[in-house]
Subunit: 725 residues, 2 copies
Amino acid sequence: MIYLVVIAAVLALSFAAFNFMTVKRMPEGTEKMQEIAESIRIGANAFIHYEYKILYLVVGVVAVLLAVITTWHAAIALIIGSVMSGCAGFVGMKIATYSNVRVANRARETEDIGETVKVAFRGGSVMGLCVGGFALLGIFIVYMVFGIGMGQLDITSASYTNMLGLSFCPFTMTLSGYALGCSMVAMFNRVGGGIYTKAADMGADLVGKTEAHIPEDDPRNPATIADNVGDNVGDVAGLGSDLLESYVGAISSGIILAYHMFSKSLAENTGMSNELLKTLILFPLIFVAIGLIASCLGIASLLFKKHMSQDPHKDLDASTYLASGMTIVLGLVVSYVMFRSFESASLKSILGFKCGWLSPWIAAAIGVVSGVVIGMLAELYTSAEYKPTQNLAHASLEGAALTITQGLALGMKSCMAPCLVLGAGIIVSYQAAGMYGVAMAAMGMLSFVTATVSVDTYGPISDNAGGIAEMSMLDPKVREITDTLDSVGNTTAAIGKGFAIGSGALAALALMISYLYSYNDFNTELILNLMEPMTLAGAIIGGALPFLFSGMLIEAVAKAARKMVDEVRRQFREIPGILEGKAKPDYKTCIEISSKGAIGEMKVPSMLAIVVPVACGFIFGPEFVGGILIGSTICSIMIAIFAGNAGGAWDNGKKYIESGKVPGSGKGSPAHDAAVIGDTVGDPLKDTVGPCLDIFIKIMSTVSLVAVAVFAEHNLADFLMKFFG
Amino acid sequence: MIYLVVIAAVLALSFAAFNFMTVKRMPEGTEKMQEIAESIRIGANAFIHYEYKILYLVVGVVAVLLAVITTWHAAIALIIGSVMSGCAGFVGMKIATYSNVRVANRARETEDIGETVKVAFRGGSVMGLCVGGFALLGIFIVYMVFGIGMGQLDITSASYTNMLGLSFCPFTMTLSGYALGCSMVAMFNRVGGGIYTKAADMGADLVGKTEAHIPEDDPRNPATIADNVGDNVGDVAGLGSDLLESYVGAISSGIILAYHMFSKSLAENTGMSNELLKTLILFPLIFVAIGLIASCLGIASLLFKKHMSQDPHKDLDASTYLASGMTIVLGLVVSYVMFRSFESASLKSILGFKCGWLSPWIAAAIGVVSGVVIGMLAELYTSAEYKPTQNLAHASLEGAALTITQGLALGMKSCMAPCLVLGAGIIVSYQAAGMYGVAMAAMGMLSFVTATVSVDTYGPISDNAGGIAEMSMLDPKVREITDTLDSVGNTTAAIGKGFAIGSGALAALALMISYLYSYNDFNTELILNLMEPMTLAGAIIGGALPFLFSGMLIEAVAKAARKMVDEVRRQFREIPGILEGKAKPDYKTCIEISSKGAIGEMKVPSMLAIVVPVACGFIFGPEFVGGILIGSTICSIMIAIFAGNAGGAWDNGKKYIESGKVPGSGKGSPAHDAAVIGDTVGDPLKDTVGPCLDIFIKIMSTVSLVAVAVFAEHNLADFLMKFFG
């Protein structure tokens, strides 16, 4: 049955390759278009190469450390993980930089929305399929080599002693190492890409729109190419590796949890069998394989559709709903096939599966549904079709201060609804299948990630296509089509952000549960007791961490944007004829500024997430780290939702005003100026802070999970306690 | 020894009465000044009367409910608490409305900073002394009547069965009820006052400064009297009852904790004696009595000082440091006198007092020091003398968007340092004296509250004095003096806000620990396990609550401010000659708008804090409520620090620009406009959201503490569990 995983992975990767080639073979359009696309491609490539160099340097150092203090198995898995995630991000970004110009060209040639959507979505699907395909391929390798291959799935051979004399279970260590590899890539891609894209965007807007009063994506603006490069490195590669990380985190924490939780029952002779244990470990793998196949079908259903509607949102939704619906239906079959052979009563008594073989499916299905609902809630708060954003747009009539105030209020209020969904999901999935159920809900939510990433990547590709159309001065009709695509892309981006934080939160919680099991191994009960002073202090300090992290990111963006502003102003001043369109701006310097700014600024916040839990673990011990994790997870969820929704609403509120639907406003009015300020404030919040917090909590949990095996035994606090009695 | 409490209370209240009369006997100055002061006084009185009407209606309803579902003792204590807190707020506000004009007049007559400071501080000290005096008086009554009087301090007679057949310990129930009474007053004063003051302030600024370009406190602005009324109802009465609540919460949770924790040891015959138990219960009471006496001395030291320096900040600091220093020194004596008769070894083995009789003092002293340090940190982030605020001011040169962005980053980054202090305080005080130590740290931090409230109240009185000087067109020299006082007041306000949230957080944590002891009674271990799905879901939803609450408050302020804007615009339009100063604006209508807005908008958020924990308790049970409390406490701490520091920095950044210290800026420059936008955005954050979150977490904990005795036994979740097996 395990071969289903590799079959799904290969299927997805083949489909990705097919789509890649199909897109690449399409015509690129006019010479001007080719030239601009080439600049964007070169900029994006240069950045990712430079970023990956640093990334793999850090990965190398961490791998060596891991090999020394834990096991060499984990170090190899770490490298596999980083390669898989790195490939997915690289390929996805690559195709995005091919698709953008081809989308613009298709719009130019056919003047048909449906046909254009297909190209953009085909490009996006490559990223989605790579996420699912590479992630599962890597997990399959780890599972086969270190699990079945080394006989580690048999609990009796679970120990390995390393050179420092510490004992580990190589199987869970490799899985954690694999997840850590994916996390590190995601961290660098998200933080680096997030700073890059917003530094360019804010820099372009602050001078272009506010000072020189030229429209967005105007070729006279020197920062405009950098802005378009940013979409590719931040919104494509960053998003892809972020969700790949959630995906891997949810799957591997499910497996680790099952292993730790039930190998205990096995040792205690509670009626647990080795076969049941293996089934529990296998279930999440098979479920996501099924989810990947369902996603392929969902993607294919759109790509091979004959009659596209003129409403891209409907077609994209149909594809996602097909994928998630089929995942639920096929998941039921999987649950039945895998668990029906075990007696219902024994499932209930040994595992706490209240509904017998149905239990794991119920938990996973709850995850799928919660994911969809959380996405919808994000749409409700950020789409100009609903009251909250419309009210925000009206507040712009009263000036910048009330626009900001109202947006802050909107973002803050929007935290509750998704948290209610998360809370209910946790309670119900626990009732169905215990802690294993909570992990399965996380896994379920992410099982159709390929479909959601495909839709999410469609957005920045369309955005880029619009930019290229504008810069190559194509017929306004083309821009109209790409604008339609782009506005749908904004909505899908908001949904995607809601989904990313919701799924990231569940994945982080699942990782945290695995963390606790890892150091609480064979204890009577799983406890994260906030009345333990170490845990309580950890939770308070942990709560402050995402605020510190977010503040640092905002400052990083502002700093890089400021350099961009100086450069754009300099060019406007020093290059004669630039504003009349007679002289060509120096795009390259702007790209370099964004690149250097992003690379320079991303180091400290990225390292913070990796170093803090490890350092705290070795100084204050595992209880303190448990507190850090829960405090930072809770606060990160809130800030991420707040940032995403406030930023999204400011963005769409501005667009609503531009559409002229607010009486007494419109482009160029004082209300529009106020709305632009809101949008600019929201930029780093929604595209840097929110997405990076996703990763922040997951990487902290993953790092802790890997290191806990060591610091649970050896830490300064314990040592002092023993020393002073 | 208990009589020391009533002696301290009477001493404080007599001192307050003396200061009240002294201030009232001072001359009021010119007719114009008297007239303006009269308007402010009438406005403030009208609001507080109207607010108290609603407040006492709600108190009455809650008292009846309490009498029915718990005990009549608690209902009486609730009423005592609400009367004590109500009196303190009322008297403090009353004297503030007398002092403001007398401060302006003293400045006019003497033209001496030191003399003027004395008047303002004498006024402020009445609020401070009332907080300490009334709070302790009430606790003394409750302790004498329901503790000693009913013999409840003897564990053997600890039970009372109410009409619903539920059993309670009347002593802890009455203490919780007393704290709840104080909380409810604080909630209404803080939320109502907070909305009032910022609606008026924002309304006045949005039209006055931004549209009509007239200075602050200009008599031509119709909203200016309402703005000055707001300082009295929000910053004086609101702050006073807020800190009174923290004070009572910290003391009573210390007592309840000691009672629950050690009556268990008593029952288990671990060597605990009834005498030791009583000493533990008495210690926080005596310590705060000592703190109150020390605060009286600190206040007197300033009031009877012969040679005032020309730097008010130094004098005010000296008074606070004297009070806190003497509290620490006298506290050491108290600890020695009370605990030296017990053997050091038995204190260690029974109570976990690692340092014998020194332990409770160490914990309390840590509280005092932490409080001072947290206040200093707030100053570091918000005072224009330090880098963070200066950098923010420089960001204004680049427009409103970067001003907001930079301020958000500053606020977010500022969360970490105070949380490190809190975390370290918790760990060290726990090491010294266990959970009792954590409660003693909270008590210690608040023990010299009278001194801090006196300094805090000095601020709004000076602010008002400046307003009156401006409106009655006194010599600019007068305004100069009051401006000096006011700018010091801004710094003390920032320190006060930091202190309020720090102490509020510790008080809330102490209340939470009491909560857990109340339903975990006689259990083996105190557990708030976040791996319990109910608790985890509660923590996530609880984390979203303060965001929801904050969002609602910001919207409430914006809504009320908008009405104010409309009214001010209407008056400018319809009353001819108003802007030339020829016609008198209609101040009264503006006052009414603020009043109505505040009363109307405060209901929902206030009720949210009271109803949510009770409703959740009866539906989901005590574990869920435990999660709600911890989640909301952690997130509230962060948002309150963020809001306070971001808002304070925007405010002082604007002032820094106005002082002309940023090259290329100054009043009227585009940078100044950007800074004004930042200040306006910060207004509801620092003066409504931050302070109200203080109360929010305390009232939730107090309500839960009162109701847990009922819902721990009777809740829907348990019922369903039993029903479905």
